[in-house]
């Protein structure tokens, strides 16, 4: 299987337990919804390749356990990620308040230029809403992070959230590439990944035939 994508982005979903991280991911990767999701233990990830301005972008989205007890494990995945989705539940005040903690967590563990985005999930449950959209927006403005309310159940904004994040990462990456290509010493994440991928294939081919 030739990996003919142009970019590989690693994304991460974090947020309190039960806010719907797995559901969002499932909605995005399988376009389906399942009310009976079991809590995520450890980590999982799903892949979806999207077309972004003519480039094939492979999104590798990591899903983490929400309970802060597991943060020691989940933070191990912060480092490699290029984009992080902070998810809260609009029907759960606490999960919204915890977004700040999660952001602090990111600042401590993730690379400094990671793209972030806040998702207020379960916005279909308007009747149970505890956190208004305005508060979400306020918070987003405060941290200068993009914000969108989503519903994995009704498939609202999930696509666009991931596309937005991916587009931001791509823009940032291309900008960096441009900067890097002018002065010497270019080192750009996406380029590296791409090069690596291409390298990887031939080596595996060689090993196939020559190691025999």
């Amino acid at each position: 299987m030739a990996k003919t994508y142009d970019y590989l982005f690693k994304l991460l979903l974090i947020g309190d337990s039960g806010v719907g991280k797995t559901s969002i991911l499932f909605r995005f990767s399988e376009d389906a919804f399942n009310i009976s999701f079991i809590s995520t233990i450890g980590i999982d990830f799903k892949i979806r390749t999207i077309d972004l301005d003519g480039k094939k972008v492979k999104l590798q989205i990591w899903d983490t356990a929400g309970q802060e007890r597991f943060r020691t494990i989940t933070t191990a995945y912060y480092r490699g990620s290029m984009g992080i989705m902070l998810v809260y539940d609009v029907t759960n005040e606490k999960s919204f308040e915890n977004i700040k903690n999660w952001i602090r967590n990111i600042e401590e563990n993730a690379s400094a230029d990671v793209e972030k985005m806040i998702l207020g999930n379960k916005c279909d449950l308007e009747a149970k809403r505890q956190v208004s959209k305005e508060r979400g927006e306020q918070l987003a403005v405060e941290y200068q992070i993009k914000f969108i309310e989503t519903s994995a159940k009704d498939s609202l904004n999930v696509e666009s959230a991931f596309y937005t994040l991916a587009r931001d990462i791509k823009a940032k990456m291309e900008k960096k590439q441009k900067e890097a290509s002018n002065p010497a010493g270019a080192r750009s994440g996406a380029h590296q990944i791409r090069a690596n991928e291409q390298q990887r294939k031939p080596t595996s081919w060689l090993s196939r035939c020559s190691l025999l």
């Binding site: 233990i41 390749t49 929400g66 959209k133």
Partner: protein, 1181 residues
């Protein structure tokens, strides 16, 4: 592969269809063919989510449909005798049928569009290479007319989703176009045909998505399946391999065959995968040539076997592949055929006893034993026979033409001959060679070239090729092989690789002159994955090519090299050799030392004494269990129990009785009475604990409600304020709600969350004018809020709460106590009961009038529960009754130790009135509680006594404690709600039990608190024990070990470290792969396995077995059985992992996708084998 059969089948039926007088049988056959194709296509669609337009299934279906349509067609009616009469038919009906018109236009466009008229609809899309299967099907046909063009219109109609309609039209108007006895004219078959096609017409066909299959990773299933197909060509799992090179091997008998294989393993594995890929979809290789029924005689088989020969152009060069027909046609039929052919050499071993040496994955198939190799399953036998030869490894192509057949022998660089390939008569060999020659260009060529003659195509260069002069020196430094000349039709071609010729020549000559037995050049002999040639090829590694197999004259040195230069080079080479050897030796020594340290470390993982396995296969059955029980109901022979469980598991019926022993809850040797006492005590304890935390829960609930109300109020206020300005830029998502809210901005609704849970669709914030009921409630609620009273309102179908009266009553009360009991279905009775106790306690404990409103633990807000409130002002007699009669067995037990009959059976006692109810009664004027029976009063007192210790604490629950419990409670509820909902056991009632177990455990271990995953651990216990208190006790025992696995403990890191050591010792190849990637040496992909004892990896019944194994193993073989199960899982898929060179992400994805799909019994028995292996290893030291 079945698709090919179909394609052939379809073409068979074509003439049949054209026959003048078709019988019913024939129609049956045609319809059956369509059915089969439809089924296959739908299956493909299900597994792949979409069907590629060029899929073989589509072609086959089109063929089958065409056959049906062609049958009994009145050609005369069409007035045409075109090549494709059905196409003419289409154009004909286009006048009457709009769908046909559309398709007809498309067909014309497609036929006219490409510059080359002959190009079919498929070829106008250059996007993806044609799947080889498809090609293969057409391989025997004329290359000029691809089969697709014949079915072009059907194809297009299918993709346009019009086919079913067109056929329907045809069926309806059959008399116009068809003979009377035609299939389409038949009322039954005709409608069957059209309805069959509805399904495929609804599918998603894609060409645009076609590349997607190249850049999405294959799902785990597919990987496993591919691997299974290619299993025979990969290395045997490490179990069968010598563990450490310098140790005596554990199973020397089966190693002969496999050890010769190990060298080829890695590359063979990946090329096998490549092979399978080349049959599936093929982005890296193009198929140059394919031919059916080419016969090859593998080593262990007497007769040449027919198979499929193909020539592939890949990035690394040309590859010739041959696969036995049995593999191409699928396993099922191969089973039947092969036995007669193979019996001579394959001794049929007893069935299912052995795991195949090559594919540990297929232990259930019939196993054969080959002559010196281990047992093989039949698939692997065939896989072992298949050939894969890289053309660059081949130096000579011998051609023997005889009367019977044309044989072609490939001779490797090392002189090893591949098994002869027999082509059927008639130009096939020639066309193969000409394809080969074309494929070799531009970097290589056949020497001598095939002659090209105008008009007749290529023929053998007779005069030249025969008896080629023997050049003593050729470019690559090889001697020319003497030709043999058995028949007049023998030819030898040399394959010349220009690209590497020079470099090759240089190196080769140097080494051969300098060293006696030269190391091989990069062109190694083993491009063949076949084990048939592996013996000979390993042998040849040690021989210089000149002394190759066939006893050719030895190589003559190259005369051009000056002698002095040769001498100096000789010196250099010998020095190098010495250095290499010494370095290798030191490396080996260091490695041995390291491994011995690791082994010492491992010795702690297993018990030193190997417990024998005799008679333990059956496991612990009912009979054995009974036999072991003495008259007092005691079980004494614990070692035997453990041993039986370890080797054979527990019969499901008696698990409930055995588990408490295994988990150490019951003591071995305890009598039945002792155990009953223990149970009773445990239950009492459980009830007590439960009543304690239920009080706190009541407080938590109250606080929650306040908080919810507050935040909703704030939200509503905010939205009320913001709305007018905000309305314009609200995203469309909320448009509806916004508009509604802005209609009624001031409405405030402090509805507790329960309300909305039950009817999530109805907006509560807004006034929905159509729903009067809701209106009322909201008005009430509004008033409620004003009075700071958090009333619980009931609504839904059985809403019967009169909020007004409630409000009136409570307006001036400090304490509003309201309890909601679950009714008519009694599933919440126990909770409700204990809740009552809790209220009581809270009231007693906090005399100041703690606001305490207990609702019926709305844990699982499923929305279907019927509830009724007891404090309504005008209760109907029925409701009164139901709310009162429910009582809780567990409470009864707490009161007087009365027998408990399961957790759910309700003992109906006429009334029960805890203090709280009495008090409530006085408040709520519910005069119906007057009738209290004296006997019950008595029990009541008891109960109060029972819970009084808790209640005395009731007042001193610190804020901290309440908050910490609240936090845990919320987490538990979140997780319990979503725990194993797919499993039918977990109804709301049982989820409540699970919640209680969790809360009780957490209450007892508040410093640890709830951690995600505990639910998963408790769930199987509850499933097994059914009874809360009991399950809780077992959970307690289980957690004693498991706590350490959670992030607060240290066990997980230890597990990872142990895993690493184990893999290093037992499967160094896998270890190397992990190290090569470096990113999963931390073994996080095993995290969930260890945390939950594989609960999420296996299905429930398998979880039971795995857990028993783990528990029993502590006493039998290893304290760390989980490690060995993990290792077994890894080993089961090691070849898949190796073949795909999975990195960390791949492996996580793979195992997450494979969850609950493992063959648990195989994994568990492999785990036991691994324990044994490590034990043996340590014992031998």
């Amino acid at each position: 592969m079945a698709a090919q059969n179909k394609a052939e089948g379809g073409s068979e039926e074509m003439p049949a269809a054209a026959a003048a007088d078709p019988s019913a049988e024939q129609k049956e056959r045609l319809i059956a063919a369509v059915k089969k194709e439809v089924k296959q296509l739908m299956e493909e669609a299900v597994t792949r989510k979409f069907v590629h337009e060029e899929s073989g299934g589509v072609t086959a279906l089109c063929g089958a449909v065409e056959a049906c349509l062609g049958q009994g067609l009145r050609r005369r009616a069409l007035g045409l005798f075109k090549t494709s009469s059905t196409t003419a038919l289409l154009h004909k009906i286009a006048k009457h049928c709009p769908e046909a018109a559309l398709v007809s236009a498309r067909v014309l466009a497609a036929e006219g569009a490409p510059a080359t008229r002959s190009a079919s609809g498929v070829e106008r899309r250059p996007s993806a290479p044609r799947p080889p299967l498809c090609k293969r099907g057409s391989g025997s046909l004329l290359s000029g007319s691809p089969p697709t063009s014949r079915h072009l219109w059907i194809r297009i109609a299918l993709f346009e989703r019009q086919l079913a309609k067109i056929i329907e039209h045809l069926v309806n108007n059959a008399n116009r176009y068809y003979e009377r006895d035609a299939l389409v004219a038949d009322p039954d078959y005709g409608s069957i045909l059209s309805s069959l096609l509805v399904g495929p017409c609804a599918l998603e066909y894609s060409k645009a998505k076609a590349p997607a299959c190249f850049w999405t990773d294959p799902p785990a299933d597919e990987l496993v399946q591919r691997h299974r197909m290619s299993a025979g060509t990969t290395t045997p799992p490490s179990v069968r391999r010598p563990i450490l090179n310098f140790k005596r091997s554990l199973n020397a008998s089966s190693d002969d065959g496999s050890s010769s294989n190990t060298g080829t393993g890695k590359a063979a594995g990946s090329s096998a995968k490549d092979y399978v890929e080349s049959l599936h979809q093929n982005s890296t290789a193009t198929l140059l040539y394919g031919k059916n029924n080419v016969r090859v005689q593998p080593k262990d088989v007497e007769e040449p076997m027919p198979g499929y020969l193909s020539l592939h152009q890949t990035a690394a060069g040309l590859v010739i592949k041959w696969t036995p027909n049995q593999l191409m046609n699928g396993y099922a039929e191969s089973e039947g055929i092969d036995k007669s052919a193979l019996r001579y050499h394959l001794v049929h071993a007893s069935e299912c006893q052995h795991t195949c040496v090559l594919c540990s994955l297929a232990p259930t198939c019939t196993v054969y034993r080959r002559r010196c190799a281990g047992p093989l399953c039949i698939d692997c036998v065939y896989w072992a026979m298949s050939l894969q030869v890289c053309v660059w490894e081949v130096v000579y192509v011998h051609v023997h033409r005889s009367q019977a057949s044309d044989a072609l022998i490939l001779v490797g660089q090392d002189g090893v001959q591949r098994p002869p390939i027999h082509f059927p008569k008639g130009g096939h060999l020639l066309s193969f060679l000409s394809n080969l020659e074309t494929g070799l260009l531009p970097h290589g060529q056949l020497d001598p070239p095939l002659w090209s003659q105008r008009g007749t195509g290529k023929v053998f260069g007779r005069g030249k090729a025969r008896r080629r002069p023997l050049p003593s020196l050729c470019e690559s430094g090889e001697t020319e092989e003497p030709e043999w000349e058995e028949t007049a039709g023998d030819y030898v071609f040399r394959i010349v690789n220009n690209a590497i010729a020079d470099r090759e020549a240089m190196r080769h000559s140097l080494l051969e002159r300098a060293v006696q037995s030269p190391p091989r050049t990069p062109r190694r002999p083993l491009a063949s994955t076949s084990t048939t040639s592996s013996d000979s090829s390993t042998m040849s590694v040690d021989c210089p090519p000149s002394a190759g197999l066939n006893g050719h004259p030895p190589l003559t040195p190259i005369p051009h090299q000056p002698v002095e230069q040769a001498a100096s080079i000789e010196l250099v080479c010998s020095t190098m050799r010495r250095q290499i050897i010494s370095r290798a030796f030191y490396g080996w020594l260091a490695y041995c030392r390291h491994l011995s340290t690791v082994r010492t470390h491992l010795s702690g993982l297993v018990h030193p004494i190997i417990v024998p396995r005799e008679n333990a296969e059956g496991g612990l059955t009912d009979e054995r269990w009974l036999a072991m029980t003495d008259e007092s109901g005691a079980i004494h022979d614990k070692d035997e129990v453990y041993r039986l469980v370890y080797y054979g598991g527990v019969q499901h019926d008696i698990r409930r009785h055995v588990w408490p022993y295994l988990l150490g809850y019951y003591e071995f040797g305890s009598t039945a009475e002792e155990r009953a006492e223990q149970d009773a005590a445990c239950r009492r304890q459980y009830e007590t604990t439960m009543s304690e935390w239920l009080c706190v829960e009541a407080i938590v609930r109250q606080r929650d409600r306040e908080a919810t109300a507050a935040s909703i109020a704030r939200l509503t206020e905010a939205s009320g304020k913001l709305k007018p300005t905000d309305n314009n830029d609200t995203s469309e998502v909320f448009e509806d709600d916004c508009s509604v809210i802005s209609d009624n901005p001031p409405i405030v609704s402090p509805e507790p969350s329960e309300n909305e849970q039950r009817r999530p669709d109805k907006p509560v914030l807004s006034r929905a004018p159509s729903i009067d009921e809701v209106d009322n409630i909201e008005m009430d609620s509004e008033r409620d809020k004003e009075t700071k009273q958090n009333g619980e309102t009931e609504n839904g179908d059985n809403r019967d709460v009169d909020v007004d009266s409630l409000k009136d009553l409570d307006e001036n009360e400090d304490v509003h106590l309201k309890s909601v009991v679950d009714n008519p279905d009694m599933r919440r009775e126990s909770i409700a009961e204990i809740k009552r106790l809790a209220e009581e306690i809270v009231q007693k404990g906090d005399g100041r009038g703690l606001l305490c409103s207990v609702d019926s633990a709305h844990v699982n807000g499923t929305g279907s529960d019927f509830r009724s409130s007891i404090d309504e002002s005008g209760p109907s007699p029925h409701q009164q009754h139901t709310s009162v009669i429910i009582t809780n067995p567990s409470v009864d037990l707490a009161a007087g130790g009365s027998p408990v009959s399961g957790g759910t059976t309700a003992q109906v006692s006429p009334a029960r009135s805890p203090l709280g109810v009495v008090r409530e009664e006085s408040q709520s004027a519910g005069a119906s509680f007057d009738t209290l029976e004296p006997a019950d009063r008595n029990a009541q007192d008891n109960r109060s006594n029972c819970v009084s210790p808790a209640s005395s604490n009731g007042g001193v629950y610190s804020n901290e404690l309440v908050e910490s419990f609240a936090l845990n409670l919320h987490r538990i509820e979140k997780d319990v709600q979503r725990c194993d909902r797919n499993y039918p056991f977990f109804t709301d009632e049982n989820l409540d039990k699970l919640r209680n177990i969790m809360c009780t455990y957490v209450w007892e271990h508040l410093e640890t608190g709830y951690m995600q995953g505990m639910c998963d651990l408790a769930a199987p216990l509850l499933v097994m024990m059914r009874e809360e208190a009991h399950a809780h006790a077992l959970f307690n025992s289980l957690m004693r070990r498991a706590t350490d696995n959670f992030p607060s403990g240290q066990a997980m890191d230890a597990h990872f470290a142990d895993m690493r050591s184990l893999i290093q010792i037992l499967d160094c190849e896998l270890y190397e792969l992990m190290h090569a990637h470096g990113d999963y040496t931390h073994f996080y992909f095993c995290y969930r396995w260890f945390l939950l004892d594989f609960k999420r990896e296996l299905l429930y019944q398998d979880v039971f077995a795995a857990w028993e194994l783990i528990w029993a193993a502590r006493h039998v073989a290893s304290e760390h059985m989980v490690l060995f199960i993990a290792l077994a899982l890894l080993e089961t898929y090691r070849d898949v992992i190796l073949a795909n060179t999975m990195d960390f992400t791949d492996i996580i994805k793979f195992f997450n996708e494979m969850a609950e799909r493992h063959d648990a019994s195989a994994v568990l028995s492999l785990a036991r084998d691994l324990v044994l292996q490590v034990q043996t290893l340590i014992e031998n030291k």
